[in-house]
Symmetry: C2
Subunit: 346 residues, 2 copies
DNA sequence: CTGAAAGCGCTTACAG
DNA sequence: CTGAAAGCGCTTACAG
């Protein structure tokens, strides 16, 4: 149907080998034949078939990216970073939405393998043993973003979650807060759960503040569940003056709940989030948060992966810098807890 | 490197033709050889090569999706819908981020063509003449989401923007508002700009409310620019009591600006958005908005596209239903404009 | 029920 | 500088 290399060869009166040479900018043809070939290509509107090319080169110039939920601001910022670098370097990207479902993940890995992707980016999920095994069998390079693993030679790109959480809480402490709650993500999540909990506790401990387990509430990083967790937290510990939320969505949920109960942010309750999604700028008031450079992380992952594909060499992991973006949800605690006036429960 | 069909043929002591038959569930082999083949596959860990398959079948089982910005909640919800259906039906999806850049779009189309995608979903952008030409040359089916075109036989899936805008404004009118501003998207956007402006004007007109051009501000659908547009609008027309924003991001910007100037939403200013992104639930107060079922639209586009790929038949366009999701940013206007009290300018 | 052979659209030694 | 031929890993008539 579509014209092939044969058609242009015929049209230009040369062999397909020659057409292939000029197409690939190899050497071994005169300027004249080059011109002839290009003219033929032009005339019949020829486009090379990357599939045929891929079969013989054993390179498809495409990479796969796996996310637990593509439709989150979080994933899509990473994806954007991945995609930009990939496209600029001649790679296409296939997206896979695993829905945090183990079955789907394995099935995807299968598909990606059959489709012969040159490499893979694995994001935001724990690299389970079975995934690791499959990946090793695939014999293609891969890199982890916003997650890590205990396996050697598996490069990852992430923020130091422990330290970021520590810094967030210390930031709150510096503003005079001592009754600081934690709106945690999934309790047993070894990547984004536990390290942030530990960072929270360590900061408290280092500043001589006792840990109060009733100040810790567990959500799932997302809005709805966190909304409820926040309501419970508030009824259980109405005396808190600040909250560290382990994701921006959770922080926004906290703001929403506060608004619902007439608690003023930041006057009566300070809130600091985690991620710095676009969301954080849009909240009312704008959210103070720990920034993870998601776009950059995706971009870097893409860079490393493509470098590995091209050179075959291993790449090192990378802890990227987080930072605190100061907006308007944190303020110094006042001498008396203003909220007591409005909230007789405390 | 990886085992091929030849390896399993050798292992199972049959021809590659036979292996291919059992692999594809064709007929013409005994249960015995079937078992032998499967055993061999198992033993050597064979995985079919979809690239080789694609070359001969002229089907790659992959579709492309083009977005102006992948990293928006808007695009990613559509993407999620597209991806879910595609994966469940054996198709992979390649994402392309055009950054609203004509050059990139054309380049992508090229890439997608070379990679032999079976079909294409084109989202949120005007289908320019040159894109249309390229698409026609590619001879693959494609469908438009959240945009439309004047070309016949190019199926699109979208909401009726004019009607949706009309309904939003009428909703405001029903609550007693007459001084209704429009925070419009890009002025000359023929898809999401003009029709919504027209819907706004028509609703006003049908209710005998004169159109006041100073009540119309232009943003670009996104937060930052809209924030400024809202500030200008407010200083130019401080007497407005309600705003119809042509996107949720714009509505959120309006809420933010209102908060900045101490204008209470909805007490002093009602706001209705457009899209119903997850964002809308998270705002404070939760945003009343016109819902476009983005996930469903993506899913439907995927369905239609894959159906076209499989059957070769044309599909019809589809205007999906919008609806107004009532949350907390609109309320009936009070007898006297409360805001006058606080804002001596009016 | 099964296999030998041609062919998908390319690239790449090899020979001239 | 150029072409004939083999081959990438499959599928699919065709013949038996």
């Amino acid at each position: 149907m579509n014209p092939t290399i044969k058609d242009v060869a015929k049209k230009a009166n040369v062999s397909i080998a020659t057409v292939s040479r000029v197409l690939n900018n190899l050497q071994g043809y005169s300027e004249q034949t080059k011109a002839k070939v290009y003219r033929a290509i032009e005339e019949i509107g020829y486009q090379p078939n990357a599939i045929a090319r891929g079969l013989i080169n054993k390179k498809t110039q495409t990479i796969g990216v796996m996310f637990p939920t593509v439709s989150s601001l979080f994933s899509s910022e990473i994806l954007h970073g991945v995609e930009d670098f990939a496209q600029d370097n001649g790679y296409s990207v296939m997206v896979c939405n695993t829905d945090s479902d183990g079955k789907r993940t394995l099935k995807y890995l299968q598909v990606l393998r059959e489709k012969q992707v040159d490499g893979l980016i694995f994001s935001s999920e724990v690299l389970k043993e079975e995934y690791y095994q499959t990946l090793q069998q695939m014999r293609i390079p891969y890199v982890l973003v916003s997650t890590e693993s205990g396996y050697d030679h598996v490069p990852y790109i992430k923020v130091n979650d422990f330290q970021a959480a520590y810094d967030a809480v210390e930031y709150l402490i510096r503003f005079g807060h001592r009754k600081i709650a934690l709106l945690s993500g999934t309790k047993h999540d070894t990547i984004a759960g536990i390290p942030r909990i530990e960072g929270y506790k360590k900061a408290l401990e280092n500043h001589g503040i006792p840990i109060n387990e009733s100040y810790i509430a567990y959500g799932d990083f997302l809005f709805d569940v966190s909304y409820k967790a926040m309501e419970e937290l508030l009824s259980r510990a109405p005396d808190i003056t600040a909250i560290f939320a382990a994701s921006d969505e959770m922080a926004i949920a906290a703001i929403s709940v506060a608004a619902k109960y007439g608690i003023k942010v930041p006057d009566e309750l300070s809130i600091i989030g985690y991620d710095d999604l676009k969301l954080a700028q849009m909240s009312v008031p704008p959210l103070t948060t720990v920034r993870q450079p998601l776009y950059d992380m995706g971009n870097l992952a893409s860079q490393k992966l493509i470098h590995m594909i091209k050179t075959g060499k291993a790449e090192s992991s990378c802890i990227v810098a987080h930072s605190i973006v100061e907006r308007q949800t944190v303020r110094a605690i006042s001498s008396h807890d203003k909220r007591d006036i409005h909230n007789p429960k405390t």
